[in-house]
Symmetry: C2
Subunit: 271 residues, 2 copies
């Protein structure tokens, strides 16, 4: 999917909502455990009820990988039922030397048909660029994450006072373009989103950390939105575990709709 198609979907739905699929057998409603593939049934119901309000889905690969080979079959089935006009993100945080990264890219872009993969930058150019060689596919590079540990390394300043995550942003600008590279930018610090936006004015941000992790949607929009929206804001647990009962999909729908309404308001103000 290209950027124009993604922006078109955003405008049509008045939404920049990404629904994170973190399906956990110990958290999904009990009645689903009788199904042949409970995780698939869970994800399918969530997708069916939220697709009207979401412009992206982000399966968290660890939740599937932890189930062994069957988990990968489930992941493949989940990817296949996501409507084609909705952007798909394999949240895998991969990254290795060149020939190995190429294989990870094949796993997510060819063996499966994801639009994008999240990639960790630590190993530098040749760990990232193999993902960029696939036409119409995207890298979502970790820049500034929203977890507590993000402060351990990402904010270390170099000899000129530049924080490490800014070196990642700057260097990676020569690897990809706003047509095939997005950045993970945590929402827990509004002023930092503005800093990131200054360095990379045109790229999309994937923003985790709104809701459960404490970020404010208003701040994200205010500091992060650009002329093509430039934001995919993720919510996982707040939506998919809105209810642990038989009404879980309807409850997920309501949460997604609530976020979409707020996003519509923010698009009207800031776009």
């Amino acid at each position: 999917m290209n950027r124009a198609a993604l922006f078109s979907e955003i405008k049509q739905k008045s939404s920049f909502l990404c629904v994170g699929l973190d399906p956990d057998l110990s958290k999904i409603p009990k009645h689903l455990l009788q199904e042949k593939d409970p995780i698939f049934s869970f994800c399918r119901a969530i997708i069916e009820e939220t697709a009207e309000f979401a412009v992206a889905y982000k399966p968290n690969i660890a939740f599937f990988e932890a189930l062994g080979p069957k988990g990968w079959e489930t992941l493949q089935k989940v990817e296949e039922i996501i409507p084609r006009e909705i952007f798909t993100i394999a949240d895998a945080k991969r990254g290795d030397i060149g020939n190995t990264s190429k294989l990870y890219a094949k796993a997510f872009f060819e063996k499966m048909n994801f639009d994008s993969v999240t990639v960790a930058p630590y190993m530098g150019a040749d760990s990232v660029t193999p993902f960029l060689e696939f036409e119409g596919k995207w890298v979502i590079l970790l820049a500034l994450t929203s977890n507590a540990g993000s402060m351990d390394f990402q904010l270390i300043k170099d000899e000129k006072g530049k924080p490490f995550y800014q070196s990642v942003l700057e260097k990676s600008q020569s690897w990809g373009t706003p047509e095939n590279m997005m950045y993970v930018v945590g929402a827990t610090r509004g002023e930092l989103i503005a800093e990131v936006r200054k360095v990379v004015p045109d790229n999309f941000f994937l923003v985790p950390g709104v809701g459960a992790q404490g970020g404010s949607l208003e701040e994200v929009a205010k500091y992060g939105m650009n002329a093509t929206c430039g934001l995919l804001v993720n919510s996982s647990r707040g939506i998919i575990y809105a209810s642990g009962e038989k009404d879980f999909a309807k409850a997920a729908r309501m949460e997604a709709q609530k976020l979409q309404a707020e996003m519509k308001r923010l698009l009207d103000i800031y776009l």
Copy 2:
């Protein structure tokens, strides 16, 4: 496996050789393609012929993941046939926020029975520590890698002139101990191995980049060895693709034996 058992294996075999399993359908001998699971047959033959000289095996997870769900079944079978006294490394370069890293740990430590996983440090403490909560299991943290891109970020100096990889070494010392944490330290720069050894005197290093990537075994031993050896030196392609014909396993054996003989010499000098 604990450190004493690993060191005991090193002494018994006079070897610190790790054999990297990067099985590629386009590179394995053609006659194996008729087998039911060519990748498994290939790995089994390699393991049978090299186990006498190796103290560790390191399946590169991307090569299995690229084959889809069946690849994970193969990986599981490969892990199961590695003799228990030999250290196993899931070379997966994982790392995510806490609850997600925990699931990756479960995938490799519980669903499968690997002794260790390679982990990327970018997301900080809570992305690494969940792997350290498993008794007898190890994290092998990326510090100084051997690829070209390693220079993009790992050598950036902070305000006090400290390179970034040293911050990773120092900070991570409070997360684990030499009993559950190793570091990936590339072999392409002998003098840097000495620098790393100064910061983390007791931890094991997993050293890629000897052979195909151009590092020198002599330099690694000279600058990196400590009182419990402290080194696992990996060779992948140089061993497993020593021959592309029916004699591939015997050829792999000869290459492994050659490296082991050199390692024996170096252990006699530097241990």
